[in-house]
Symmetry: C2
């Protein structure tokens, strides 16, 4: 078998440079999660299909990767019983017969399953984060993969707006550390319900939400057309237009909405749910003011994120200086674990989009330059004796946390230089018989050209010289 090997479409190998950059993102995010007291859990890549099926809609079920039962998967299957009237086999039904497990599709359903399964071991409020790959049998295209990482942080078991605040603070701190300017947008699902109620179409909340979620993309007029197409009256659409056109500061918007929800709109209808949503928004913005957050945070009444399980706050984060859509999003859900028989567990969470954040940092040139090199110092290989001389020095430097390589083969210096160059190694040390005899170690900064000789015992001096800089 000597055809060039390949990987399944929609999957990726991550080489050393890309891994260093991805780890930089994940490590930054993790360090922030930890300063807020969130800790990590891991769940298996495979879940029982009974856990996954029916949770993502009919389309989602089709996108699950199913794992063939091990052993004699087909031996006992009566294939003909899966034929329809036209003689064609029903793949969906047969796949249920021969596959009990599937690859996880997101981190949310496994998290809900985890909370229910381990409810007696967990201390609530339960603050967890999870960074793992998920798999979807989507058609691969630019920016859409069949295997990609999700990075979720959630707190479950508390209804306090302090949890919403914390997520905003986490976003603010993560992108501060990554040196990316972001805009945080917040809405509240109860306010969206309020829209539907005061415009007189309380059963159309999903249609209204879906329509106004497109405001950014298709504009106000098209949103209004869509709502009318869904059966809303002109008067109802006028009420919503009134809301969507609100301007001013956050507190001005909230107070204007409060009077609309209180009966001041054209319909004169009152929405208690909407008022409750405004209370939540007001409390959250008050907490954001009190805590102090660097990034701009604003109300976006068109924000819905298309997800019907949100019941309170809805979040979305956009990069201010790079057009790529949402890089982070989430919200509050009151019944995530209900699907597994544990009702009334309110939680709130957000998910960081690792691939998009990667693209933003790449696009803005925000990756630190020292990620390019995994090694600080290369000892050239000048022969067996000279190598034995420098081995203890290399060990001592590694003991101080310096990343050191000893070139393994005694080849031409040109080749060793090329190796240092390709790996962006900033320091090179060449020691021949003279150095070995005199007990000295030469180190050259390949970036600045600075060169210095040290006694072989002066490890501290070497560490100082190496840490003083030099990134190719």
């Amino acid at each position: 078998m000597s055809q060039k090997p390949s990987i399944p479409k929609g999957t990726r190998d991550f080489g050393q440079q890309e891994m260093a950059e991805r780890n930089y993102i994940f490590d930054t995010i993790k360090s922030v999660f930890r300063t807020f007291g969130y800790s990590q859990i891991d769940t298996p890549a495979m879940e029982n299909l009974s856990t996954l099926l029916g949770k993502y809609g009919e389309e989602g079920d089709k996108l699950l990767f199913r794992i063939l039962n091990s052993g004699d998967a087909f031996g006992k299957v009566d294939y003909d019983s899966f034929r329809g009237p036209d003689g064609a086999v029903n793949s969906v039904a047969l796949s249920k017969e021969v596959c009990e497990k599937g690859l996880r599709y997101d981190l949310t359903v496994p998290f809900a399953r985890y909370v229910v399964q381990h409810q007696n071991e967990i201390s609530f409020p339960f603050k967890r984060f999870q960074i793992q790959p998920v798999w979807r049998a989507d058609r691969p295209q630019k920016g859409r993969y069949r295997e990609f990482y999700q990075c979720d942080v959630d707190v479950i078991g508390s209804r306090s707006q302090l949890n919403e605040l914390e997520l905003v603070q986490i976003v603010d701190r993560v992108f501060g550390l990554l040196d990316v300017n972001v805009l945080v947008k917040i809405n509240n699902r109860k306010v969206l319900t309020g829209f539907a109620e005061i415009c007189g179409f309380p059963d159309k909340v999903v249609d209204i939400t879906v329509a106004i979620d497109k405001l950014d993309k298709i504009g106000l007029q098209a949103v209004e057309e869509e709502m009318k197409g869904k059966g809303l009256s002109d008067e109802a659409v006028a009420v919503i237009e009134q809301i969507l056109k609100l301007s001013g500061t956050t507190s001005e918007k909230i107070s204007a909405m409060r009077s609309l929800m209180n009966g001041a709109s054209a319909s004169g209808l009152v929405s208690q749910t909407g008022l409750k949503g405004l209370d939540e928004l007001e409390e959250l913005f008050g907490l954001i003011d009190a805590a102090g957050v660097s990034s701009p945070v604003e109300i976006d009444l068109s924000l819905a994120r298309g997800l019907n399980y949100y019941t309170g706050a809805i979040f979305e984060v956009k990069a201010a200086d790079f057009a790529i859509g949402s890089i982070c999003g989430g919200g509050r859900y009151d019944n995530l674990t209900g699907i597994f028989g544990l009702p009334d567990m309110s939680g709130v969470g957000i998910s960081f989009g690792a691939d998009r954040i990667y693209d933003v940092l790449k696009g803005l040139g925000k990756f630190p330059s020292d990620l390019k090199s995994s090694t600080t110092l290369l000892f050239a290989n000048m022969g067996a004796e000279e190598t034995r001389y420098i081995l203890p020095v290399a060990s001592a430097l590694r003991g101080c946390g310096v990343s050191v390589e000893v070139y393994p083969d005694q080849v031409k210096l040109k080749k060793q230089f090329d190796y240092a160059d390709r790996k962006c190694i900033p320091f090179l040390s060449i020691n021949g018989t003279d150095e070995a005899a005199s007990g000295s170690v030469n180190i050259k900064n390949l970036v600045t050209g600075d060169q210095k000789a040290f006694s072989e015992e002066d490890v501290e001096g070497m560490v100082g010289f190496l840490s003083a800089g030099g990134t190719k």
Copy 2:
């Protein structure tokens, strides 16, 4: 659906405590890999079955998890064409028809695939590590899982024994940092070939290797019976017995073997391959002496690790104070990438057994006690106004890297204390209206009982008090 959810057998959830402990192991290992200039790559969980099949023997093929093709997997399959003469369906053949992809079974074959696929982007010698889960449809039992992590470090593209040395140094440093005493055992596959050659049965090297690999478990006599059962003569077995009984220091053993390989055994036969293996062992032990390694390193001539692709050094690491078998192993291979059409790429690598290392640290009580808590300080929730007062203090502390929680709900203090207790949070801060009015912050060390009041601006003082200790 309200039956209690579960996960597939042989898989595991890792909760917060276990994750902290596992991360401690992985982070230690990674930090050591990095000081030796190895950097991380990731490959996809799914590989094409054409990459995986035939690489692990017939048994291994059966243990691969296969992924059902997405879309209409069965629609075009002529099921009857997979029936044997007895009418039963051939599951293996049919599964090849409906599954193109499988989950990776180890990290070695994906690494070989990676090197061949990316050979033009890679700088050789290529030093990589990889820490990812693998999946095997094995029968689950104690200590054997269907999903488990492997942690592999390899260098490919150099034949120098300095690479072998580095792996020994890495093992030494990792277990030094983990505070576990280990014994490093080394053998050489060429020496095993030499055994077969000087006993006159050069074609029996695999049988001999398989037999002596069991020396530890079944003893010398049973090993000799097995070799005789495989067709070795009494004289041949006597030659091998002579080798296996060698004692003394490493250099005494090497020099005794050198004369046996040079014709001094009962057979009088000479093995050039065996002598080459002894040269390699001698060079490696010389380098180990020169570099200085803390753990005991010894030759173990019965070490074979059952893997036929090793061609030079063979490594195995055992915990000195905990009976659990090998916790780390590997060796040199000269033709790993040959299966994918790139011959003559010599490499050497080892794999750390994360689950066993976890058991050793657990068994010996070697996990640091501060892994128990993810949070250093909990601010009690005394009401909305008091909470607003401490929010900026909490932010400032987090900015200094301290892990801080603000209890989200205003509930009885008893409940908040219990939360701190269950999460092993060592510091608690309770601030009421008095503290808010006077601008002070009270912090109590729940372990020692020490308590101190700070001015709200004195973040540095608080960080000092918090870092001065306290682990529950």
